[in-house]
Every structure is written in structure tokens, then in C-alpha cells.
Amino acid sequence: MTIQTLINVAVILVLVGWIGIRQLAWRPVEVARMWRMPLILGVVGVITVSSDTSAALTTLDITLLVIELAVSLGIGALMGSIARFRPISAAAKAAHFAKNPKDTTDVTLESSTGGWGLGLWIAFIVVRVGIDIWAGAVGSTIAASTGVILIMVAANRFSRTAVFAARTSRVAVIHS
């Protein structure tokens, strides 16, 4: 087992656990904050990939990357569209502002993607691992690199947030 593999395993486990727990819990919806995670992950991912000069990008690499990207975006959008919204309770709101004292924007909704969300998240991981194995078999190294994993997670979160933003803005129009 190489260091690279170990790092991959660690990154995947941490992200799977963290995001998995978040799928099940009801969390305050704050679209502005939700953009932050895909942005950070994406930037870190792109820096990691571009600093990895060990191999030049081949046509096969690009093919796999495009497929992975489409799958990530698709699953993210699906997660966003199955999410349920409800008005936030006073207690949850107080807890949110106690945790983020600097926050000034009002929070009116909370959301959860529930069991299906967790299922989609696991499906996302399985597809990713599958593509990694397939990529290794056909000789592409880049698809399985840490940077690419981060970019794909970022893409997943990005499309989920985009769908969230569209849905909550529609809810806001109805409520106003």
C-alpha cells in the first residue's frame, strides 16, 4: 500500500462519514454558506491536480474525468431535488446563531435529504470507486488522484447547492 492510497482512503472515509451524517440531520439552510464548501474543495483539488506533474493528461484521462464530472454533478443535482424543507424551529435557530455568532443573515428554513440522500451519497462513492478501479485497469492514473477526488466532491456539492438555491428562492417568493 502506498502513501497515496492511504491518503485516498483517509480522505474518502472522512468525507463519507462527515457528509453522510449531514445528510440525515436537519440542518439550517444558508445558501450563501453552502457555496463555501464546493469552492474550497474545488480550489484545493485544482491546485493538487496541477501540482502533480508526474503524468501528462491523455485523451483517456479526459474521457474519464468528463464522465466522472457528469456523474458527480448529476448525483448532486438529484440530492438537491429530493431534499425536504421545513420552517426552522426557534430552538434550532438559536443553536445555529450560538454556533455562528458572526452570522447576520436570517435563517428561515432547515433541510434534510434523509435516507435517500444517504443512499445517493453511497451510490456516488461506489461509482467513484468503480471508475477508479476501471481507470486503473485501462491505464489512467489521474482519475484516482486525491485532487480529482476533491474536485468531484466539489462538483457534487456545487450542483446540490445550485438546485437548493433555485428551490429556496422559489419558496422565498411564495412566502414573501
Partner: protein, 381 residues
Amino acid sequence: MNPSASNPGMLSKVLSLAGALLVGYWLIREFTDEPVWVLVVSLVSLVAWIAFIFVSRERSVVSALLIILSAVTGAFATGPTAGLLIGPVIAAVLTMIGMPHRPTWHGVVLALAAAVVIPIGALSVDIQPLGLVSMEGGLAIAVIAGFSRRQIRVTQVQSLQLLEQRIVVEEEKARGAALAERQTVARDIHDVLAHSLGGLVLQLDAVDALLEAGRVDDAAVRVKNARAMAASGLAEARRAVDALRDDRRGEPVTAPEFRRTIDELLAAHLSLGGSVDFSVTGTDRELDFDVAEALRRTLQESLTNARKHAPGAPVAVRVDWSRRRVELEVSNPVTAAVPLAAPAGHGLVGMKERVAALDGASVDAAFVDGRFVVHTRLVTS
């Protein structure tokens, strides 16, 4: 509205068709040596695209299926044709995203599918990584252009809706104006007819009473008066209809003209057995048509009311000209037989409406010290 705005699709359809034919020409010229499937898939894409151009109904399922077919087959053939078939793919994605009636995700899913199919189709041929990147880049530009087109079309739809709303508002306004005009006509008819017919009824009542008493000579005088009254009422009605027919509003009324109309009204009142205490202060002068008309009608209405509610009692009419105003006060004693509530007829309402339509004007009708007083103030220019 110019023809291109009423049919915005025509130019883009012609351009689109030209593009499809150009791609077809190059395909047959350059890629006949390729495997047959490349040619077949490419032609399917192009035929689907041309078919879409000729399907007139953009919202139909058939047109959506043609776009999808053209995009997917085109994407598959993009790599083997060295990027030539990216043309229909770009057109399809741009069109799909640019349709305002479709949800955004239809177009986005189509673009993602095409993005995946392009490299898969390219696996069969030896293609440079940079070539593949540029094909995907072309697709990305199509997505952006599609959103821009969508935005433009949404704006067009919105501005059309805005135009419709404005027309509705203008129709409402026109209806309101017509209604106001009808009220004016109703007011004029009331003023003329109530005045002369009311007078006639009084005269004829008197004739009736005189004949019963055998006073035929007196009755004959009354009948003559009644005839004069009817004739002046008819003339008045004609004048009102004329005024409605050719709009005299705007032409000023000279001081002698105005004085004559006042005198006519007072004379009519006298002939109906009323008595008038008339006084003028200040210098009379030319009046706007609307102001003169308001004064005349107010006096007429007040005299009619006085005859109705205080028959035989002297009516005090005072016209007061000051520097910028003219005031008319008509008052009559209230007899015991009359209820103390204000006489709420159409006449008083019409009088108030007429005066309210003028700038800086006011009319008050009230019981003051046992008299019913109608006080009108109007601004003269």
C-alpha cells in the same frame, strides 16, 4: 411592430439550416473514407437537426426528441469527424437551454450527456487531448450562449406581457372616461328636463285649479305661460344636445351673454309665480365655458328646488364678483311643510359634481337661520 420582431425564429431558422447544410457538405467531402458508421451516425444527427428546423411547434414532444437525437448522435460523431459534428451538438444544446418554457435542467442534462458522449465516441479514433478539451470547451460555450438566449427570450416574453397590461390599463381608462361622459350627459338631461317639466307641472296644476274655480281668463294666461315654459325648455334641451354634439367647452362666455342666461332663468322663475330678490356686486366679466355653465346650472337647480320646497316664498339671489372669483348665493326661507333634512335629489348631486370638476371651486348647501342656502364659489381666470 416590425416583421422580424413578430417572427423572431425566421432568421435563426435560416441560419441554422445553412449551418446544417454546410456541415453536411464538409462531411461528404472530407469523411467518406471513414468507417461507414461514422457517416451514418453523422447523417442521422444532421437529418434530425434539419427535421427539427421544419417542425413548426417548438413545444411538441417530437421537437424535443429530435433535439436529443441530434445532440447525442452528433456528440458521438464529434471525435471521429475531428470536431465537425460539434456543430449540431452546439445548436441542440443552445436551443434546448434557450427555450424559456422548458425547465433549465432539461438543457443542462442534455449538455452533460453530450459532454460524456463526446469522449466516448472519440475513444475509437486517435485524437489529441487538446482536441478533446476544445470540443468540450465548445460545448461549454454553447451552454453559456444558451443561457444568454434564454434570458433574452424571457425578457421578450415579459415585455410583451407588460405591453398587454398597459393596453388593459388604457382600456380601463377609456371606459372610465366614457362613464364620466355619460354622467355629464345624465346631469345635463336632468337639469334641462327637471327644470322645464317641473315648471310645466306647476303651471298646469294652477290651470287645473283656476278652471275648477271658473276663472277661465286667468287659466288662459297660465296656459300661455306654460306654452312659453315648454318652448324655452325645448330650446334649452336643443342647446344641451348641441353642446354635447359639438363640444363648445373651451369657448369663453362673454359678460352680456352670461347676464342674459341669468335673466332668462329669473324671468322663468317669475313667470312660474315665484319672486326673486336679485343683487349683483362687483364688475362682471368674461367666464370660461365650464364656469359659466356651472353657475347657470346651479342657479337653475336652486330655483327649481326653491319652487318645489318653498313655493311662493321670495328667493334671494346674490352674485358677487371679486378680483379672482365669482360667488353665487341662492337662499330661500324654509316653510314648515318642508322636512328639515337636506333635499337629496339628483339635482344637488349633479350640481356638486359639476362644481367639483372645476379647479378651486366649492359648493355648500346648508340650512342657516331658517333658510336653505346654496353658496357656490368659483375661480375666474
